[in-house]
Amino acid sequence: MSDSTPRRLAVGVEIGGTFTDLVAIGPDGVRVAKVPSTPARPDEAVFDVLDAAGLNPSDIAEFVHGSTVATNAVLERKGARLALLATEGFRDVLILGRQDRLRLFDLRYRRPKPLVAREDSLGVPERMLADGSTLTPFDAEAFAPRLAAFLDRGRYDAVAICLLNAYANPAHEQALAALVRRIAPGLRVTCSHEVTGEFREYERASTTALSAYVQPVLDAYLGRMEQRLEAGGFRGELSVMQSGGGRVPAAAMRRNAASALLSGPAAGVMGAVRQAAQSGVRDIITLDIGGTSADVALVEAGRPAMTRDALVDGLVVQMPMLDITTVGAGGGSIAWVDEGGMLRVGPRSAGADPGPACYGRGDTQPTLTDAHVIAGRIPSGKRLAGGLVMDGAAARAAFAPLAAQLGLSVESAADSVVRIAVASVVAAVRLVSTERGHDPRSFVLVPYGGAGPLHAAAVAEELGIARVLVPPGAGVLSAYGLLAADHSLFAARTRRLTIAPGAAAEVRQEIAALRSDLAGRFDALGVAGDRRLEVTLDMRLLGQAFEIGVPLPAEALETLDEAALLAGFAAAHERIYRAPVDTARRPVEVVSYRVALHAARAALPGLAGPRRLDGQGDGPLLIEDATATIWVPPGWTAAEDAAGNLLLTRAP
């Protein structure tokens, strides 16, 4: 391949907890590869998988990467030595947070360890007000000696700046950043108004600190990878995945790292969206089951549901991100009987190494994968993707004590374990669908990950979902998703505005400003492609404490007027609260603007592999492809369509 197709390949490499996957797409078609991950030095596996695929960096025109490097830096607290500068009187913002707990009924509760210790935070004499006016001016000259002493004492790698009301007026943050750079030219400085333009100081400060904390780690990692790729002759474009489901050039991510947090599961969702679209299916629920957990997301009309904040190791990050729900049910989840006699599955997992008992590496605890081996859905004695041979006797031996404890046969204990795991996944699907006002029955379930296609039909059955679409290469769909994703930039800004005559013009202006800001950043990064704008306004009745997201159709932006704004709010309000709202009687305000600019990726072939099924197959039926095992239960039929997707349909 190296000789025949120089520099024309698009390559996606996704590092997962267990495996590192590759999908390469070129004029000659698609190739995939899978190698074990190397958690201690994650980039090793990137070059391992290139080797495994027989690719040379010089073959690659476009390299897209997904990793959990940023998230892991937080989990392991291996980021920058960080200082916080906050408005005087409020330097404890990261310690005090919102005062709520992540777990109830826990008298020994401990807060997640903050990224900045109290002694590493300094109050700054200044105060902006909510309207952007200055209450206490910032006097840089007067403050300089205190700041210099503080920075000198701390020997920091980086400084996070979060001043009150900087979302309304960043002048003090800018002046303070300039002062830091003057006093300590080598320090990395991250200002809150550059990370997110939204109000609520704890959430903004936490996001800013997280960004500043992981930035040096991510910068070094991407720098190292770029260097090694270039040494191998790579001259193409390197981009990375963001938690919002779009990608950005690595250069942008190296400067602002917050959007890399929680980007791990995003690529798979984008891959599922693109692959389902090849079959004309646009309303889907994605189901990724790996070794330790299951990730579920809902996609309506090809647009994944988004959320505006999430937790990384208990710390708030406020960024547009895909709304993904995770439950601790994966192939390695261990089955056990608790002290009340209840059969449980997970959340403990045998992981990838030693892995389930059937891997034959010495673990003897019964897992979900063992249950499938016992049931014959994973063939015993056969070599699977990734090179493992399943040891059926070891699986049965692991289940024997559990079966005895329950007074069941080994087969029936295994069947029970599968049913319980399926029930956990069903609960997660309910969370993203029925709990958010969507009927799962009007969606198609799209499973991927090593164990997704094995469980999908059973999950669908419980939810009354009639169709399951199994993409080809379900085991490497995340890597494909990296290539399938658009380039995306996101911006959010709090600007409160009551809807009154003239307000629509201001709204249009604000959106235009955000759009041109994002477009300018795309231009500076050299990102081409058709651009598409997505706008959501956070609105509420005046006096309400909570905003609701009101999506504005891009085509209506030009002619947007006050009536349209109120109508959009009323519709969103009714959908969420199921109660009409009288916007004629009660004033409505815009609180924040959220804007996404996408640069469409050029046409991309599907992930079609060798045909998996000729004609139609009726369950019970086991179908294997190179990366996954697909279970078609009794009462279901399977057929492969022109796009290479396997469509499972429940008999009516």
């Binding site: 409020f90 008298l107 109290r118 209840m342 069947d415």
Partner: protein, 543 residues
Amino acid sequence: MTAISPADQAVIGQALLSAAREMGAKLCRSAFSPIVRDAKDASTGLMDATGAAVVQSDELIPVLVGSLSVTLRRCMQAVPPETLREGDFYLTNHPYHGAHHLQDILVFMPAFVDGRIIAYAAAVAHHLDVGGGAPGLNSSATDLYGEGLILPPARWNFARDWQDGNLRTLIGANIRVPDQTLGDIESQFAACFTGIARLRELCARHGTATVEAAMAGQIAYVERRVRAAVAALPDGTYVGEDFVDDDGAGSGPLRVRATVTVAGDSLAVDFAGSAPQVRTHMNAPYASVVSGTLAALKSFLTTDDVPFNEGAARAVTITVPEGTLLNPRFPAPVRARMEATYRAHDAVLKALGAAVPERAVATGFDTTTAFCLSHLQDGRYRVFIELRDGGYGAHAGADGCDAITGPLSNCTNVPVEAIDADHDFFRIEAFALLPGTGGRGQHRGGNGSIRRYRILRDGVRLAIYTDRFRVAAEGLMGGEPGALGGCVIRRGAEKISVRSKDDVVLRAGDVLEMWTGGGGGYGPPDARPDALLAADARLAQEP
């Protein structure tokens, strides 16, 4: 009873719990009042045909744990379930019939399957205003009538009485913010309908008999786990005591005493010896004490994967003498029941700690601080309410948690930037941790925090109820008590003390400081390792 397989038990049990959670999510997301939406002061659950709680949403606040059955059974006594028809529901907020205070309105809706009631869906929410002598909080009420509209346990019909108006109109006419309150009650109905729909789906899929067996099995399961945990405690009688500062009208401290008797796998809690009821709204009704007690037992005895239900109540007997602070006689007011409920919670924990000293946790600040600033401007009231934090007690393994919401609640604070944008009659000037307020010890108690408010207009009114201005959170095993909370007004050179239950008119230029106290320490202070002392010093360091 139908025998049930382990898989059916686990699968249906999990589906019931996720139905209760889904009901809770639906209720909170669609509610209007921030008390429900943000503070999650609400609860949802499914009860069996006898009124026994099977599952309760475990993601809402702890203070409502375990009391839904108490209320439903009072409703079933008032109106026999045999007389209920499809579309009927029970509704009440009566604290002398199982509710916590009038602000909590409970709805129970029967789930009919094949023409008979197999279960009830329950939803309770704290409402912003239920009428009464003052908006939201009437601290001068001398009886229940002054605290709001009383809705006794009664049967109503959704189509006839709610959708077509009678009950809806009656409630709406007696409350100050009818849009919000009626909207929130509607969210409760929506939650109940969701629960019933899930229950019917389960019956259709698994068979009604199997679902009923799974409900019974779920209760038996929790009873086994709670009994196993109780059996691990040494038999004996253990006493714990704590005090509410005062009743807000000059009398106090008010004793709360819990006697816990462990006999084999049964546990009894008796609050005999607690203070007589008071004339102000500091009384806690029986249901609140049941919840406070069960929450203490849940956090002390079991891991967080035990979903409490009727099974816990079967292993535990709770006795509260009538006429006391913890079980007042009608019509004593009960609005501010949280302080006495917290002391009941703390007294039970102290008794349990005496039973198993190595697992004991020192007492926390454990106080509801309701802090309200209001101002009448151009004929319109502007109201700001927030709930504050406090330090947790230390234990043998670690220091107590700093400045965090009380164990029976999970309320967030209000962002300073939101206050800056919404209120022009005051401004927050500082919000800081208070190192040194946690009780000293080998492990120190959690620290409290201070918030400083500058008043910008004349005539701003402060209404506050809180506790532990006089009686500190005790230390354990030689650990010292946590610091007290407090509140002062700085007016020029003058310093005016504010009581823990108070109502004060402020002037422009006043600076108001309100600080929360710390949790108790654990173990002798001189046993604290040098590394931790150095960490304390760093925490206290002002740059």
